[in-house]
């Protein structure tokens, strides 16, 4: 059945694809919008129907597609009875909700958004129930949390909606995190993340010492999703959503996801005492608690919300019993609950829609005004109460039957008694839904005069109630589905059972009778009980939740503020210490390779260079307040680093380092033109000591690590040999470093020149915004004027730089051309040319140089990136991937044979980009100088007229002093 299996991913995909359209189609009207939402759902239902016969015959359909097999994450889907039931519920009720919502939503509500969210949610739910890979399942699981957040908070203008959505997301999201941990443990025990494999390893899982942690974590996820005690509180708050959302999320889908997962995992997790006591007890408490609270809620939807909590508890309890027959009852009740609860939510929505209130105290007597709604609501509520001839009765009887012979911690009566109590309250609130809303006298004070809605609105609940009655009268129609599903839950043979109305005078029948009679009695004294219940002190879940959330916020704010209070030096210190600690941890925890390499001899010249480097570095510490001096010292350090690169066989690096060094120092000098020339003495001795300790520790750590690396060997075989071998044959160049840059790792280089270009543009934007603001005004005011040299543009330097310009450009071209085979290349050539240009700025003045600049530097950057890009694209025309290089040898007669490589065109891109970026950065700085009032010098020799008079005066004074002497 391979061919049918391929429907599975399509079924899961369909709602996601469909989600794209309603938002667009809303332009064409509300009906069209609703229809576009219905189409993908209907298509999915059709595909599911095609799959159904095979599944009902006991087959398991599968589809698999490797996604990230190395992580065990595969797009595997499978469809068995359980998946079929849930997918059918999700899609079937989904289509009814789409119909209902079309009529429920008002003109003010953005309907396109609603259907998009709804379909997203529907797709996530279908994905959960069809997944055959637990990692894939977890992805869909989280998607349901996110999309339900959007649905619950759909009415963004209501604070309750936003709070409810946030609470639901927090609770189910945290449950989801626990679930991820639990599932990963499970996958580790089994050694596979495929659900079908996990389900076959019951013994391995239950024997594992990690069984209990995994169980607890998975159950936290399920309980949070299915609103089980003590996570039940989010569900009533989610009622702030529009009623179609409540009907969908809380009858058939979202909250059933937890039940689904418990049922899915039942074969491997159930059957242990841990499972029984945790799951059954939680379910029992939730069932009773939810039922009692529901009775005293005056809001229709709140009543239904707590009744949902109660019924979810019931199903959880049944799954917790761990017996096959209880599983059958659980499956049956899932179907029945989905039908009558969705119908009830929709009738509540109708009442709200027509009477403009959901407050039971303001309702009553509606049976005369809305007879159709009354009929639907009554049948659904009676089914919820468990009255014979309706489907709720059948599964409730089965539940009571199972409860009747369940022994809890040695006590045979505790579970039956509490189950009966839960059923009793369930009857009471169900009757209340009928009696207090529909029966009684017609009132005159409804906020709006109620009447039955159009067919479109009651069609969906009407259809569901038909099912309620049909299954209730003829339970056999549901039997094949229940049997297949329960078989899938149990994962084996089922004991004999049959779904029928009359089982004889069983204990369950008596319990049921007590529940109905007692429920009616409790309702009759509701008016007495309600004030006492309201007066009784009890913990308010929302307040507790808010308090916890507030505490967490306060704590995280405190932690963030403590680590990062806005002080850069404090943050840098914390960061440095944290990195050192992490390194220390790794060093002590890991295992370093032994020192196997022989150290090189220490030669005299390198030793002197080392001494110079250390001396200058330490000098920087001592003199760091004198900014000009410290810049010179740093220049020395940079020079020695370049020399070290040459010495240790890295000529390309040396060339790059030395040219970058020049540009950097010039840049810093230009900046220093505006910045203060000295740093004040600010830090206390204690602070300096602390910084010294941190810095010393960091230096020692890095030195130690480097030393260990230098004397150790590679842990894995290096890939460098590949590059050395293929550089000439594959890349056509003998300078391996350059071939790596422009060929082997061309993509990296492409990214890097783009980064460089962006950095330059950022610099430009920054300088423009500074000049446009207060900084620019300050510059223009001239207050910042620093001391000026007597001759702004020394004659010797101007002439020399202008003469050198063509030579320097030629050197740049030469370095560029030789780059593929000898040290050089685009990066270095770009820097050399940039230096030649910068020299003009330095010697002849910014304004002079800018006046002669023909091509804007932005354009140069763009040309560079485009050249590199088009070279890469060129490879496509040869039918090869982006940036595949090619080369060949050409002979033009008088010249020798020479090589042409596409990598060279790429290198031109690098070259242009580097020039543009460096120049744009310096040009941005120079624009500040121009703002500060620099004028264009007309002659090569240019003496500042302002300084001339001062100089003359000094000269005269000197002359005078000489005379006196």
């Amino acid at each position: 059945m391979e061919s049918i299996g391929t429907f599975l991913p399509l079924i899961a995909m369909m709602p996601f694809v469909g989600a794209l359209f309603p938002g667009l189609m809303i332009q064409a009207g509300r009906n069209v919008c609703a229809m576009t939402a219905a189409v993908p759902t209907i298509l999915a239902i059709i595909m599911l129907t095609i799959c159904a016969p095979a599944v009902l015959d006991g087959e398991v359909l599968q589809f698999s597609l490797p996604w990230l097999p190395s992580l065990g994450l595969n797009v595997n889907f499978f469809l068995d009875g359980l998946g079929l039931l849930f997918a059918g519920l999700i899609l079937g009720i989904g289509i009814l909700i789409i119909l209902y919502a079309r009529f429920y939503l008002s003109r003010q509500d953005p309907m396109g958004q609603f259907y998009t969210y709804l379909l997203l949610f529907q797709g996530a739910m279908v994905g959960i129930v069809l997944s055959d890979n637990i990692l894939l399942l977890l992805i869909f699981w989280e998607l349901t949390s996110l999309s339900s957040f959007l649905l619950i908070g759909y009415w963004k203008h209501l604070p309750e909606g936003r709070q409810g959505a946030r609470m639901a997301l927090t609770v189910t999201g945290m449950g989801g995190l626990a679930m991820i941990a639990g599932m990963l443990i499970l996958g580790n025990i089994v050694g596979s993340y495929d659900l079908t494999v996990i389900l076959e390893n019951k013994d391995a899982i239950q024997a594992s010492p990690l069984y209990l942690p995994a169980l607890l974590l998975i159950l936290v996820g399920c309980f949070a999703k299915s609103a089980q005690f003590p996570f039940h509180f989010w569900l009533p708050h989610a009622m702030a959503a529009p009623t179609p959302v409540s009907a969908y999320l809380h009858s058939a889908t979202m909250v059933k996801a937890g039940l689904f997962l418990m049922a899915r995992m039942w074969p491997v997790l159930a059957g242990t005492p841990e499972w029984f006591y945790i799951v059954a007890t939680t379910g029992l408490i939730t069932m009773v608690l939810g039922a009692v609270i529901a009775l005293f809620k005056d809001d229709l939807k709140a009543l239904l919300a707590f009744s949902t909590v109660s019924h979810l508890g019931l199903i959880t309890m049944l799954l917790g019993f761990g017996t096959p027959l209880a599983a059958v009852a659980a499956v049956f009740h899932i179907i029945n609950h989905a039908t009558f609860k969705a119908a009830l939510f929709m009738t509540a929505g109708i009442v709200d829609h027509e009477a403009h209130t959901r407050d039971i105290k303001r309702l009553g007597g509606l049976r005369h005004l809305m007879p159709i709604t009354f009929l639907i609501a009554m049948l659904a509520a009676l089914s919820m109460a468990g009255i014979p001839l309706l489907n709720g009765f059948l599964s409730k009887e089965m539940m009571l039957e199972e409860a009747a012979h369940t022994v809890w911690a040695g006590s045979p009566w505790l579970v039956p008694a509490l189950a009966t109590l839960g059923a009793l309250f369930s009857v009471a609130y169900s009757f209340r839904y009928i009696v207090h809303v529909f029966l009684g006298d017609v009132r005159q004070d409804y906020p709006s005069k109620p009447h039955d809605p159009d067919f479109g609105m009651w069609a969906a609940p009407g259809f569901l109630v038909l099912l309620v009655v049909l299954i209730g009268v003829l339970p056999a129609v549901a039997e094949p589905l229940v049997r297949t599903t329960a078989g899938a839950v149990v994962g084996g043979e089922l004991p004999y059972f049959s779904l029928k109305i009359w089982h004889g005078l069983t204990p369950a029948l008596f319990m049921s009778a007590i529940a109905v009679a007692g429920g009616a009695l409790v309702l009759s004294i509701h008016s007495v009980l309600a004030p006492r219940w309201d007066a009784a002190p009890r913990p308010e879940a929302k307040q507790i939740f808010d308090a916890i959330a507030r505490t967490a916020t306060v704590f995280s704010r405190w932690l963030t503020d403590m680590l990062h209070n806005g002080s850069l030096s404090r943050f840098a210190a914390i960061f440095a210490v944290a990195v050192i600690a992490a390194g220390l941890f790794a060093w002590t925890g890991g295992e370093a390779g032994p020192p196997v390499r022989e150290p090189l001899e220490i030669a005299a010249v390198p030793a002197i260079a080392w001494a110079l480097l250390v001396l200058c570095s330490l000098g920087m510490l001592v003199f760091h307040r004198n900014r000009l001096l410290v810049l010179i010292l740093m220049g020395v350090v940079g020079l020695i680093v370049s020399l070290a690169f040459i010495y240790f066989s890295a000529p390309d690096l040396a060339l790059t380092q030395i040219s970058v060094e020049v540009v950097t120092i010039i840049l810093l000098l230009l900046a220093l033109n505006f910045l203060p020339k000295v740093s004040p003495k600010e830090s206390s001795p204690g602070r300096r000591l602390r910084d010294g300790v941190v810095a010393g520790a960091g230096g020692l750590a890095v030195a130690g690590l480097t030393y260990a690396i230098l004397l150790g060997d590679f842990a894995q075989e290096s890939i460098s040999a590949f590059h050395l071998e293929n550089s000439y044959s594959g890349g056509g160049g003998t300078n391996v470093v350059n071939v790596i840059l422009v060929d082997f790792r061309g993509y990296d280089t492409f990214g890097e020149i783009i980064v460089l270009g962006i950095a330059a543009l950022v610099i430009y934007a920054l300088s423009q915004s500074v000049l446009g603001g207060a900084g620019g005004r300050w510059l223009a005011s001239g207050e910042l004027d620093s001391k000026k040299a007597g001759d702004r543009h020394p004659l010797m330097m101007v002439i020399a730089s202008r003469v050198m310009m063509p030579i320097a450009l030629m050197a740049g071209v030469y370095i560029f051309l030789r780059g593929h085979n000898e040290p050089g290349g685009g990066f270095i050539a770009g820097l050399v040319v940039a230096i030649a240009l910068v020299m003009q700025y330095m010697a002849s003045g910014f304004a002079w140089a800018v006046a002669r600049q023909r091509v804007p530097y932005h354009t140069t950057i763009a040309l560079g990136v485009m050249a590199a890009c088009f070279t890469g694209v060129g490879a496509w025309f040869a039918g090869r991937p982006f940036l595949t290089s090619d080369f060949g040898y050409v002979t033009i007669p008088p010249l020798e044979k020479f090589e042409l490589a596409t990598a060279m065109a790429f290198d031109i891109g690098v070259f242009l980009c580097v020039i543009g970026a460096v120049m744009l950065a310096l040009d941005s700085l120079s624009s500040m100088a121009r703002r500060a009032g620099e004028t264009v010098n007309q002659l090569p020799m240019d003496i500042d007229p302002a300084r001339r008079s001062v100089a003359n005066a000094t000269d005269k004074m000197a002359v005078a002093a000489g005379k006196e002497a």
Binding site: F648, D652, L675, A695, S727, V737, V755, A759, M928
Partner: protein, 114 residues
């Protein structure tokens, strides 16, 4: 020789860290530059040290130093220039706009957090 390189990287790191922890933008920039030197040399050194073995293929030579860290560091040098330039402009812009080059503007008690 390995000891000299390792200790030089250590000194560069220590000085860089100390300068980064100062209160004025200019020493912080210099500190970042020093750290860049340290990191670049460190990355280069992961290819291990070799004298007179440049990775330029030539006839009759069989031993070359590791070219890969060199290619990595070459772009790193250029990128760290780009980064320095951005930081310089940031510092300059901050100084011109706020008329102070203190890095922690608005924190009255810079000593308080020691």
């Amino acid at each position: 020789m390995e000891f000299l390189v390792a200790s030089a990287i250590g000194v560069l790191t220590a000085v860089g860290l100390y300068l980064v922890l100062r209160f004025r933008s200019f020493p912080v920039i210099l500190g970042i530059s020093m750290l860049s030197y340290a990191v670049n040399v460190f990355l280069f050194a992961t290819g291990r040290l070799a004298v007179d073995m440049p990775p330029v293929l030539s006839e009759g030579v069989t031993a070359y130093t590791d070219p890969l860290p060199q290619a990595l560091v070459l772009t790193a040098i250029v990128i760290s220039f780009g980064m320095t330039a951005v930081v310089v402009l940031l510092a300059l812009g901050a100084y011109l706009s706020a008329r102070t080059d203190a890095v922690d503007i608005g924190l009255d008690d810079q000593e308080a957090d020691t």
